[in-house]
Symmetry: C2
Subunit: 674 residues, 2 copies
């Protein structure tokens, strides 16, 4: 039966063991990650086959003694006739023949990933004696951002308190954090930031001698799993910690302060990956207050970090929140491009920009942001969000890889082979490539880590999809479901539920990409005009005859930020994807959509359908009652029932809102409240 805590690393006897001699392992190599990989092999085999293989480090075992050989490719390739082609960092080979198994990594981390891949195949019943697998991650940066606060709460966290912090200090269970490191490593994550990008209160002192020993303790847990740590820092640290009169990044005393403080940090954590920073955004300080630009800011950090091989990751979610709803020419979605593309090429080589995938804020129905493909000379990664801030907050089922696949397949139109997945770590003429991904995590101290057990699929799916952006959401759902529920009807049904969930959520949410019809602050549940007059630039401007924002060149000219072909496609309501159409266009309610119905009728239809689909999902889930662990069945069912209440509110409030505006009834005569 399912043990929620173990996620996709269940203890469950496999149905048919492969004819491999797994009881004795020879490790050809050394190092903490290698040893941890061997230990994970032992634990994994024990979980799935019930016995604990012997691990030998003699380095000389022959096939007489051992059936399994773990090590780096350079150590193993000659002996076992492996390809010696150089793989990307973290790449691995798995080869089996007769009853032998070799798992060889390009580096130590590669051994770890190879072991976890083998264990996954074993659990899926796909390990056999004729494997010849070569795999490598698409990109080098595969990161999780924690928005964990020093008091133990988590910004946008829906799964209990922080696993790292409590009571204004670092406080954690070593076992829990190590189990988390194992889960992350098993899907290829290699970088983690542990504290919220809004660096407040005592978190500002994480980079001081008082707190660094504890921070180093967390880094030490992640280290053998091949996961490096980053710390989020406050731009004003020179004033807050250093008591300087300024934090101006071009001030000599500030530059010196950052250099010395960074040196101190690296004394405690010599392999720290660097700093992550949110500047000049939503109240956080930044270079603007000194008349400096983002490059000025980022480069000062970069130079302090460079001697230590550290990176500065600089978020591009930047704006000063001065938008006025009266002014139809202002447009926040333009901010990332407007702020950073003009600075392209002015950042130091160890600066990595981190724009959000969408131009506004992780909303349903946003197009992919135009900054991707437009940065030509600046290193950057893409920020996703695993925690379901706008996508149901781990109450509503919403399988995010469905959307991530859409993102990966989005064509930026910059050059040829210009889909996002083509740009991932793959140089194209005239473009800088995307060096990886960061995503806001979704775990907390809940026993099942993610609040909704089915939301574990989003964490798993994030790791898998950024490792290999050509994977489909469906393939990932199948992997995860079998690993979690075992083979059988439950896993099959769960795949079906996951695969339909995003579109269902989208149907009862804000219609057709119009965005921000959520309750302010909490971002949960409908509030159709909740942000309509706010300073955050989040408007739909529905009136009695039309809804949506004209972001074409006749409006805010947001679409002009895209490459010409994409801009033209988006700017034409006939070719603009209907998922995004109200994000790009202001349309009259009688606009005819592709199905021949009006926009208004489509709004009604989608909200009735979305609600009814949740009802159907609940029936599907109920059919699994006898196949599932009672606790899991009930806790997921309870969330589905809350989701149905949500869907009903969305349906009724949205439909009523537009009915009140237009007086036009539903063609099918369904109940719309006055």
């Amino acid at each position: 039966m399912l043990n929620e805590y173990n996620c996709w690393l269940q203890e469950r006897a496999i149905q048919e063991a492969p004819a491999l001699r797994l009881n004795s392992v020879c490790v050809r190599g050394e190092g903490a990650v290698t040893e941890q990989a061997a230990e994970e092999f032992r634990l994994g085999v024990k979980r799935l086959m019930g016995f604990s293989p012997a691990i030998c480090y003699c380095g000389e075992c022959t096939s007489e003694y051992s059936g399994v050989f773990l090590g780096t490719i350079d150590k193993l390739s000659g002996e076992y006739k492996l390809s010696s082609e150089k793989l990307k960092d973290g790449g691995f080979l798995i080869k089996s023949w007769e009853n032998y198994l070799v798992i060889a990594g390009q580096d130590e981390a590669g051994i770890m990933y190879g072991v976890f891949r083998f264990l996954s195949l074993l659990a899926q019943g796909k390990a056999d004696s004729a494997m010849e697998i070569k795999d490598e991650p698409a990109s080098p940066i595969r990161m999780i951002n924690h928005w964990d606060n020093i008091n133990g709460t988590i910004e946008r966290g829906y799964a209990g308190p922080s696993i790292f912090f409590n009571n204004d200090k670092i406080e954690y269970s070593k076992e829990r954090v190590e189990d988390y490191a194992r889960l992350l490593a098993s899907v290829g994550i290699n970088l983690i930031s542990i504290n919220n990008v809004n660096v407040r209160f005592n978190a500002r002192y994480l980079i001081t001698e008082e707190m660094l020993p504890d921070a180093a303790g967390i880094a030490a847990i992640f280290r053998p799993y091949g996961i490096k740590m980053m710390l989020c820092v406050n731009f004003n640290s020179p004033m807050i910690i250093g008591k300087l009169p300024t934090a101006d990044p071009l001030d000599a005393s500030v530059i010196d302060w950052w250099k010395k403080q960074t040196d101190l940090v690296y004394k405690y954590i010599p392999d720290l990956a660097g700093f992550l920073i949110k500047a000049d955004s939503e109240g956080q300080p930044g270079p603007f207050q000194y008349g400096r630009n983002h490059a000025d800011g980022a480069n000062t950090f970069a130079r302090a970090l460079k001697p230590h091989g550290g990176l500065i990751i600089w978020r591009c979610f930047v704006y000063n929140a001065t938008q006025d709803w009266r002014d139809w020419s202002q447009d926040r979605p333009k901010a990332a491009y407007d702020n950073f593309v003009p600075l392209d090429g002015t950042f130091d080589e160890n600066v990595i920009l981190q724009p959000k995938w969408g131009p506004l804020d992780f909303q349903i129905g946003e197009p992919v942001a135009p900054i991707f493909g437009a940065l030509k000379k600046t290193r950057h990664i893409m920020e996703l969000q695993i925690t379901q801030e706008y996508t149901g907050q781990q109450v509503d089922l919403c399988y995010l890889p469905w959307m991530w696949q859409y993102i990966m397949e989005f064509d930026t139109g910059h050059g040829s082979d210009s889909c996002i997945k083509d740009l991932v770590n793959s140089y194209k003429e005239g473009n800088s490539f995307i060096e990886g991904f960061a995503a806001v995590g979704n775990v907390g101290l809940d026993n099942n880590w993610t609040g909704n057990t089915l939301a574990q699929a989003n964490l798993y799916g994030y790791g898998r999809m950024i490792w290999d952006p050509s994977l489909s959401a469906k393939e990932i759902a199948e992997e995860w479901s079998i690993l979690s529920f075992g083979h059988g009807a439950a896993a099959e049904k769960v795949v079906q539920l996951l695969m339909g969930s995003y579109q269902t959520f989208e149907k009862y949410n804000a219609p057709f990409g119009v965005g921000f019809m959520v309750n302010p602050g909490m971002h949960y549940g409908p509030n159709i005009e909740g942000y309509e007059f706010s300073r955050w630039g989040t408007y739909h401007r529905a009136d009695y005859k039309a809804v949506g924002i004209d972001r074409t060149s006749s409006g805010t000219a947001y679409t002009d930020q895209y490459s010409p072909g994409i801009a033209a496609m988006l700017a034409n309501p006939e070719t603009c994807p209907e998922r995004n159409i109200l994000f790009i266009h202001r349309l009259p309610y009688d606009f005819k959509m592709k199905n021949g119905e009006t926009l208004l009728q489509n709004i009604y239809n989608s909200h009735f359908e979305g609600h009814d689909e949740v009802e159907a999902m609940i029936e599907e889930w109920k059919s699994l009652e006898n196949l599932l662990e009672k606790d899991v069945y009930n806790s997921v069912l309870a969330r589905f029932q809350r989701q149905l209440m949500n869907a009903r509110e969305w349906r009724d409030q949205i439909n009523t809102y537009f009915f009140r505006k237009t007086g036009i009834a539903d063609k099918k005569g369904r109940k719309i409240y006055e």
Copy 2:
């Protein structure tokens, strides 16, 4: 110049001293309140005339030695030929002739009130040698409710932290609390509850031995000012403190627990006025959870308090927040009447009900609640709100006595002479009278007590108006302005600003009584649909053709709760006051209002006017720059400027909202944003 801290008790030499011998005072009587009254006389004369009168308690001074005689009427009437007519408690006589002055109270408190009245007249230049004044308070209960939390915050407080609490305990400056007691006594307040009616966290233990000594310390400060204290208690105390398994008010162990706990409380504070409770409302526990009604609940407290002469004040702001916006038949404004009128006559004699003045929640443009005049056999008081929760939060100038005058003059239609002010402590055939008032206070630790210095007028005005409900808002404004600013142009201008302020605020607020277009939670600034789909029963249901709630018998039948004549008047849109019209009626936008314009055009007009009136107020204020203390001038100006921004948001958001709904432009062509 004005010292904000001293409010209406300024230290300022009067222009022309009356020909009275104020330098020597003989006190004919004894007791703490009498002595404090004499001390207040001394302090007041010192403040206004610069010398400190001698106070003599020999009881035998002749007019040779003393010019001033203070005491109770029974002690002084014979000697000084005063009327010996019995006045209400707290009543007083002031008599002057030649250079003598007598201030005689019906009781000790009456001496205090007489002294403060004399000092007020002295400061206003109205004291002379031919005074013959008789005055008495309209009603016996003149209360301030503090919504102060035990952690030092104040629910709906806009003037700094609590003057009573900090850090989960009672913590205060004795001097500050005594100065507060003086201010309250000077306008006739005689009862105060110090803790929030939402009794949470450590405040639940105020009635235990751990905290009672500190609570008794506060009672001791108020005592010599003739002000008694109440404590707010949590209905679940028998479970929380007593560890009983139930708080069922009819359970013998609960009845016994309350008796014993009340006995304990009175050991520490023998003259405690009693308990105040909010039950079964907004999450607070109450009798409903045990299937009991409010009388069952209140009477259990009443019986525990009775041996000590204590009262239980039971708030009528009761509801369980289960309203569904889809259901047009539910109507929260009916709750107080529905809950309490059927129980009329079933409450013990020391139970006092406390309904809010309006049926919904202290909103601009509500009519007076129908429960007043309908309660025939139950003691009750009316709850007002001095703190400006919905009326500008002490940023916007909003002189509340203007509205209280409207309330006092509201005719309930129950019998003859049935205006609220007629019902105050004055028995009418078939009605129970209103025994007084409670109001949520507006002070905090800000140096000027009330955030906005001009908001001191609301605290002053509350005391004055409930002492004498026949006073006009204008008379009170004149008194307060002269007392605060001295005679002259500043005081005259301030009267003018105060008197226009309420109507100005009303003009740019939610239109014509429709209510609840504020930001949820904070209740500040416009959010037109912020509560439109909430569970709190706060809807305006604007659509493309109409706005407002039909609360007549064709709708929710709320108006049927009024006496027949008033019900008929309200139910007819031709006779319903336009201030309340959208509270009672659902009207099409082209409804013709009394000025011949449509409803929609009136909405536009009032919002443009309200905004422009704030601009004019600022110009008026600026004309006082050279007449005012710089700090006061600037701090009030800064608030006016924030008010203007608020008024602009209200104007533009409201106008845009209705323009978007209707597409009908302003007749006068003023700018309405799309």
